[in-house]
Subunit: 166 residues, 2 copies
């Protein structure tokens, strides 16, 4: 999984703490963690394409949450940033195996979808995806606010200061 | 996940079908799927280090299973090839956030281990790992032998032919 997932998850929480009424630029979101703005912008655009975040241009432009944190799951963010590919990469090497003797060995290898290795790996991965889909960013926010109440306060103040100075 | 996981899983099944009494060279295992032998050898060495496969040198050398398929899980193979790293990469960017005002915001950010995003991602991933650890290569072999009985037969014959001609 790319580092973009970590960046996107933290940025979504920061957008929530900055407040839904305020748009925040990619540069400002990046500055909070000292990240490269152009690369963070790429992740933010992926979140926009996935409908998790909206973007506006102009002097008051920037990024805002397009959904409530209750409606954004960890799976939404992973899928937005990483794409729909499975973690297990199946190149279907099985289809390159030597062909047998048709009458003794039955039909030639079936399509990769029927590969039992692929299926077993996919079944395990689906359990993971279901788990990610069962956790919302609101759950994570609530945990942060309970365990480290200074973190949201600090973020809120920092992004508010950006608005008055820029 | 690298393509090496797919290669390693198939090669382990092929070693089982070739028979525990016969060592198979990396070149021969690679030829079965037309894979680059040096790169497959790298994966096989990782399986040796993990204790899943044993290797011997000399004219009768090669690779054999070091455990029964009942004692090799999907997790064993993923960990051997991919290493112990979590799929979710946490670079701890959270620790680079601006420091707050100590009296108002509480202590500075805690170590990355306490990051709620990291914890939520890790919890979901542990469910996946438990799932992988609950499936053995014997389960996969049984499914292949039931669904595609020609596949094991073909592999067994092909690796046996290699022994008589080399």
């Amino acid at each position: 999984m790319s580092e973009g997932v970590e960046w996107a998850l933290h940025s979504i929480l920061n957008l929530a703490w900055a407040g839904p009424e305020h748009a925040v630029s990619a540069a400002r979101l990046a500055a909070y963690y000292d990240l490269p703005p152009a690369y963070l912008n790429k992740q933010l655009q992926a979140l926009v394409r996935a409908g998790l975040v909206s973007s506006g241009s102009g002097p008051r432009g920037g990024f805002r949450l397009a959904r409530r944190l209750e409606d954004i799951t960890l799976m939404d963010v992973v899928a937005a940033v990483e794409g729909p590919e499975e973690a297990f990469r199946c190149a279907g090497i099985r289809l390159r195996a030597p062909r047998g003797r048709p009458h003794e060995d039955g039909p030639v290898p079936e399509p990769a979808e029927d590969c039992q290795i692929h299926q077993a790996m996919r079944e395990a991965e689906l359990v993971w995806r279901r788990e990610l889909a069962g956790r919302t960013l609101a759950d994570v926010r609530d945990r942060v606010e309970r365990v480290s109440p200074g973190v949201p306060r600090r973020a809120r103040r920092w992004f508010a200061a950006a608005r008055t100075t820029s």
